[in-house]
Each structure stands twice: as C-alpha cells, then as structure tokens.
C-alpha cells in the first residue's frame, strides 16, 4: 500500500515537472524544474531499492550536468527573448499531435494492462547494492567501462577546445 502511494506520487511529480520544463518561457526556471525532476527521479530509484544509482543520479545528473547547463545559461543570457523568430517551415502542430496520439495510446495500454495484471517477480539476489553492481561492472563489463572512460576523456578535451576563445 505504501509502495503504491509512493509510486503514484513520485510518478505524478516527475511528469508534472517534466511538463513544466518543456513549457516554461524562462530558461532558468526550466533548469530549476529540471533539477527538481532529477531529484524526484532519484527518489524513485531509491524507492526501487537502487540506492547506488540514486546517489549517482544526484551526484552526476543533478549536481553536475545541470550545473553545467546553469553556467552556460548565465553566459548566454541576453535580453532579447529567443523565441521571436520562427522558421516558416516549422510544424509544431504535428509534433503536438504525435505526442498526444502516443500519450493516448499509453492511456489505452494502461487501462488494458490493469485488467490483466502481470506477476511481480521477487528477486532472489540483492539488486541495487554497491557490491553486486560493482562485481558485474568490473568483471563482465570491464571493456565497456574502459571505453566509457576513454569517451569521457575525449568529451572533456573536445569541450575544452570547442569552448575556448580564439585570442
């Protein structure tokens, strides 16, 4: 019972803040809503017993990536509102219609699925703890791990070069 209430509350907050992010006019407000959204997603992970990923979500996403967005917004913030010029070939109504269609399908799927509830399978092993995740990460997936570290190095060097001023 407590799990059900938690899931619906957290899910509702996630979707609410996501809608606020994509519909706000002020960029900094959008960033604040995005941070709150990421924190609620981390709470959702914690309710799914994945403490490690929740902490990493807060540390990297909410505490790193969005801070980067905030810095860039401070640097490019100028007084002219950016939504003045619109490309005449833009078809926003098509995007809204497709989104509404998919969301309607999701409602239908949800209603259908609630008539035939799937079985909740209990997991025997401890999932979400640091040790188990680390064992899988460093033994089975060591090569993607090293590749991701090279990717991060490349991204760091690339970002520095792209954002450098040409004196």
């Amino acid at each position: 019972m407590a799990e059900t209430i938690t899931f619906y509350m957290l899910g509702g907050l996630i979707l609410l803040f996501a809608v606020l992010v994509v519909s706000t006019r002020n960029t900094v407000h959008g960033i604040i809503f995005l941070v709150i959204d990421f924190l609620v997603v981390a709470l959702l992970y914690a309710s799914m017993n994945s403490m490690f990923v929740a902490a990493i979500q807060v540390l990297v996403y909410a505490g790193g990536i969005v801070v980067l967005y905030l810095f860039v917004v401070m640097l490019v913030n100028h007084k002219r509102p950016p939504e003045e010029y619109a490309d005449p070939n833009r078809r926003n109504w098509l995007g809204a219609a497709m989104t509404a269609a998919v969301l309607g399908e999701l409602v239908i799927i949800g209603a259908y699925a609630s008539l035939r509830p799937a079985a909740v399978s209990a997991s025997a092993t401890k999932v979400g703890y640091v040790k188990e995740t680390a064992m899988v990460l460093y033994t089975d997936y060591i090569i993607p791990f090293e590749l991701v570290s090279i990717l991060l190095l490349v991204a760091m060097v690339g970002a520095i070069i792209l954002a450098r001023r040409e004196w």
Binding site: V28, L59, G64, V67, M74
Partner: protein, 339 residues
Amino acid sequence: MIDSVVIPLLKILIVLNAVLVAVTFMVLLERKVIAWTQVRLGPMRVGPHGILQPIADVLKLMIKEDITPVKADRWVFTMSPMLVLVPALIMFAVIPFGPTTSLFGREVTLYITDLNVGLLYIVSVTSIGVYGIILAGWSSNSKYPLLAGLRASAQLISYEVAVTMALVSMIVSAGTLSMVGIVNAQASQGVWYLFIQPVAFFIFFVGGLAETNRAPFDMPEAEQELTGGFHTEYSGMRVALFFLAEYANMIVLASVATTLFLGGWLRPFPNVEALAFLGIIPSWCWFLLKTFVFLYIFIWIRATLPRYRYDQLMRIGWKVLIPLAIANVVVSGILKVMF
C-alpha cells in the same frame, strides 16, 4: 510504530536543534578565537564575556528590514537561502554520533540512519549545495552578485572532484561506503585512518576548506572582494540563513572528517586494553570533542593565513589536488591488494 517513527523523529529533532544552536554559537566562537589570536578580546558586552552575543545577533537580524530588489526574480530570490541551508542540514542524517547504546531501557542507535551508501550520499548532497549560490547570485539581478556567484560555484565544483577522489581512496581502504561501517573498520584495524591515509586527509581537508568557502579560499564572499559576494543584495533573516548554511556546512565537514579519519566515536587506541579507563567518557562525547578540534583548526587557519587569489585557487584545485588525489587512489589500490 515507536521504533520506526517516534524514535527517528526524536533523533531528527534533537540533531536539528543541536545543529542550529551550535551554528549560532559558532559565530561567537569564531569572533572570540580570532580576537584572541589578534591580542584583543572580542565581544565582551552582552552577557558575561560576551556569551549571549549570538542571541543579540539573531534578534538584530530578525528585526531588520527585508529588502528585495525590484527587478529580482521573486521566487528564486526567496528560495535561494533555503536552497543553501537545506543540503547542509540534511547531511546530518547519516553522520554517526555513536554506536548502539541502551538509553532508558531501549537499544537506540546514536545516528539517524545508516545508509549503505552513506558516504556517497554526503558527496551527492554537497554537489546540490552549489545551486543555492548560483541562483542567489543570478536572481539578485545585479553584476557583482552574479560574478561572485559564478566564481563561488566554479570553485565549489572544482574542489568537489578532488574531495571525491580523496574519498574514493578512503573507500578503498575501508571497503564499505556506510559511515558506521567505516568507523567499525577503523575499530577492527586498531588505528585511525589518519595514519593510514595521510594524503587523503590532506586533500579532504584542503578541499573541504574550499568547499565551504572558508579562508584561505574565501574570495567569493570576503567583504574586500566583490562587495560581499553573492549575498550582497540580501538583508535581514535571509543573509542569516546564508551564514547559518556556511557554518552548518563547516560543522558537517568537521563531522565527516572526524568519522572518516579520526575514528568517529572511538576512544584513542580503541584496541589497547591498558587505556580502557578512557571508556568512562561516552562515545558521543569523543565524537563532539574531535569535531570541536577540527572546528577550532578551521578558525585558526582563518585567523592565520592570507587569502588566495582566484586564479591561484583554481590552479591549486585542478593542477595540484586532482593529480595528487588520483595518484593516491592508484597507490591505495596497489597497497590494498599487496597487503
């Protein structure tokens, strides 16, 4: 019901009240210690030897006028002090003040909770604390706070990397992320981690000074620079919240350093039987004593060292501390595998 709801609530109440009172008296302590270092007396008027000075400070800040700049973004301007204070306070949820003791006939753990990722929780919440500063600087709609806010947050995120790497080498030694587990690991090793990982301690200490904007890294908020930094436009209770947050951050940092490097609630030489008479002092008293030593060292450093310039500060963070921390992780890993 009692064990799962009432006792944690009581613990939270006690810890929050203790922290808020401690923070106000930290202000007095800092003024007194800096005064004695400079061969003068500090606040002496209010109460005997100035003991009641914090009460006078709080009263003054509460009755001051609350000024909001006209073009400031109202919501963000009001919310930023809270955004700075809340991460500092919720970090106290995982700090262990003592082991399981029996109080009033009940087994009570002297910490609010013991997450199995406790250390990672502290690092994550520290990285959220950046938002209040940037948003305070931006929402003031004024040049100096914006620049100071950007500088302060750039300093915070630079030193965050070094501190996290130093903590990674600590985790390699301890083998667990939970704070209680780290103290127990020190008890089983018989020696504080200060002696096993001195480099990590040094990096954590210096990085912690920079993270809490304390001297010698307090350029973003010093009065001589940028006219007061990111809290220039704030007045009254809101600026009190900023200072509360800074001192609460300091206390959290001192507590974390105590838990990780000085053995938490353990008495000195916990495995030596000859010194068992030291067990008379309860465990949380040892914890508070060690935290107090760190706080005193923070104030001492502020009274003694001059301030770093901003480019020197960034150079130290990126070019000195991060390579040192990474080398420390590698060496710790090698030593841990070999022994």
